[in-house]
Amino acid sequence: MSDFGFHLAFWSLAAMTIGGASMIVVSRNLIHAVIWLVLSMLGIAGLYLTLSAEFIAVVQVLIYVGAISVLMLFAIMLTPRAERDNSQHIKTAGPAGVVVIMVMIATMWVAIDTDWGAVREAALTEQARLIGESLIKHYILPFEIGAVLLTAALVGAIALARQDDEDAAVHAASLQAELDDDGSVDPVDVVDPPLPTDGEAST
């Protein structure tokens, strides 16, 4: 890759990434925000390519662009009556900005100021094979645990998302409570809903 081409690619991709991310901050519609996220993710995938990490770039596109964004869109669709105005920020956005600026200064300072000891010019080759090998050799344990993690997340997400018999009563009670009060319930009065009657006999 020519030097100029590399420069062009980097800067344009960087602009795309940052621009996309920035648009998330300001976009009015939540769905638009997800679209901007996709753009930003794509930009990052491009950046991975400039870093010669093809495998990661592919994974990035598949998972983030293909899966996560869709998941988010589904979530937005499934919550039709929820507030979708993305441009309104909460009251503490000001302090949040200050903190973020502090974080920015810190991270950038460290990024620029530190001697990272970068030595290598050549990129890693045969990434997919190496990664695969190391996953089943060196990183077999994290790999297996990661599998369990995904299972757990999957099972958990299903358990949460599906509506069991006992959940209907709970949700109904919640909605009723939502109508009865304006959300200003004192947490001290947290009372578990009564036990479902269809449960087994208590011991």
Binding site: V148, T151, D165
Partner: protein, 490 residues
């Protein structure tokens, strides 16, 4: 490889049984069998840990150095499995409430425990991350498990904050990885020892992010805000589990990372200051915020923040001369004492809530001393232990930790800790007062408290005995803790 799997034994038992439970749920309808399986798995894990301890595997590393079995790890494996057992034993009522999700519930507890155990034994950043996420994600789900207003809100908040904390933690790890070029803790340590000079800023930023990430798990102020919400919303057994197990594992990994990987003299002096400051802040925040709470779960959540602060005293002390062994073993000892005590408190709270119509309001405890004298007595005993009064487990835990502070020249921190004991007395005594001193108008019409189920009684008996035994004969546990930390500081 087979040896490696052997080393993984304690966790593997849990993972396998957890996986089995996920679909056993489909055909095993009886709660008792499911619980029995879970308990058996936990017991098996403990036994396996014990076997590892006695069969000469101590010090072995497995999986390319990602996992280590040392006394330190074993100590935590047993502690965590024990805590999980108590949480499972008291889950009767939760399981009754969610008949269709029993398998998931129990499996997630097992996964989470396995994750925490791995955390205690991992010596690789990637391993740390995965183990942490395994436990975190399981816990997010468990907190929201009831799907009611409070549970789902608590779960969502826990997840959103936790995800940010994870990202922060990852950023820290990334910096560390980029800087040192390794994910292995001992390699990181050797890198810092050789080439760390001049890179303090980056190292400190990484460390700060790591502190934030693990401090979040340990519910140390200022990273504590999820704790009260999650505890209040979660099913109470899960709250109990969170308050002890998460904290224990977080401190385990804090000790490992900060004193195994980052323990170089270059940075150690900073740790002393940082941890001392966090300890102070945590104790004050936790205790002061707890004073006004009327919900006992929430009160205990804040109190757990304060207890985390107390534990931080030990971390601060490790960095000092002579403090290493004492500070670390102090943390371990305190954790064990705190675990049994807090579990005892939560056990009783669950029982009381069951009969109280699910209320956790301290004011509704009025007159309970008369209606349920033994329950009240156990709760009072646990709360007195949490204050740190004799003859209980936390009493000696506090003394031990304060001693580490004094020994490492942080006497002021010991004073702060001791003064916070005073503040904590103000709220810990409130339920005691309500139960034994306040009276209710219609004393006679109040229903008798039903006899709790055997499993709950067993849990209560075990943890209460633990509180008392540790309080009366702390020497055993202290020696165990000492041996455990010798694996790291020798």
């Amino acid at each position: 490889m087979l040896n490696d799997v052997n080393l993984l034994g304690p966790e593997l038992v849990l993972l396998v049984v957890g996986g089995f439970l996920l679909f056993a749920d489909l055909f095993l309808k009886d709660r008792r069998i499911l619980m029995g399986l879970t308990l058996a798995a936990l017991l098996g894990s403990i036994l396996y840990s014990a076997i590892l301890l006695t069969e000469g595997h101590i010090g072995s590393q497995g999986f390319g150095g990602a996992l280590v079995v040392d006394k330190f790890a074993v100590f935590f494996q047993i502690l965590l499995a024990g805590a999980a057992m108590a949480a499972v034993l008291v889950s009767t009522e939760t399981l009754q409430r969610t008949p269709s999700r029993r398998g998931e519930y129990l499996a997630l507890i097992l996964f989470s425990t396995a994750g925490l155990q791995l955390l205690a034994g991992s010596r690789d950043l990637i391993m740390v991350f995965i183990a942490l996420e395994l436990t975190s994600i399981s816990q997010y789900i468990l907190v929201g498990f009831h799907k009611d207003r409070w549970g789902s809100e608590g779960g969502l908040k826990y997840l959103l904050t936790g995800a940010v904390a994870s990202a922060v933690l990852l950023y820290g790890m990334a910096i560390l990885l980029g800087l040192t070029g390794s994910t292995n803790l001992s390699e990181i340590a050797s890198y810092i020892a050789w080439q760390g000079a001049g890179k303090e800023e980056a190292l400190m930023l990484a460390a700060v992010f790591l502190i934030a990430g693990f401090g979040f798990k340990a519910a140390v102020a200022p990273f504590q805000m999820w704790a009260p919400d999650a505890y209040t919303g979660a099913p109470t057994p899960i709250a109990a589990y969170l308050s002890v197990a998460s904290k224990a594992a977080a401190f385990a990994i804090l000790i490992r990372i900060f004193f195994e990987a980052l323990g170089d003299d270059l940075l150690a002096e900073h740790w002393k200051t940082i941890f001392a400051a966090l300890a102070t802040l945590s104790m004050f925040v936790g205790n002061f915020f707890a004073i006004r709470q009327n919900n006992i779960k929430r009160m205990l959540a804040y109190s757990s923040v304060a207890q985390a602060g107390t534990l931080m005293i030990g971390l601060a002390a490790i960095s000092a001369d002579r403090g290493e062994l004492l500070g670390a073993s102090g943390i371990l000892f305190y954790l064990a004492g705190y675990t049994v005590t807090n579990l005892a408190a939560f056990t009783v709270i669950i029982l009381i809530a069951n009969h109280n119509g699910g209320s956790y309001d301290i004011r509704s405890y009025a007159g309970l001393g008369k209606r349920a004298p033994w329950l009240s007595f156990v709760l009072a005993f646990a709360l007195i232990s949490l204050i740190g009064l004799p003859p209980t487990a936390v009493f000696f835990g506090k003394i031990y930790l304060f001693e580490t502070a004094v020994q490492s020249g942080l006497a002021w921190l010991a004073v702060v800790g001791a003064v916070n004991t005073l503040i904590s007395a103000a709220y810990y005594l409130r339920p005691v007062k309500a139960m034994f001193i306040d009276t209710v108008e219609d004393e006679d019409t109040q229903p008798e408290v039903a006899r709790p189920s055997n499993s709950v009684l067993a849990a209560m008996g075990l943890v209460t005995a633990g509180v008392l035994v540790i309080g009366l004969h702390p020497g055993l546990l202290i020696n165990a803790a000492e041996a455990a930390v010798a694996a790291i500081f020798s």
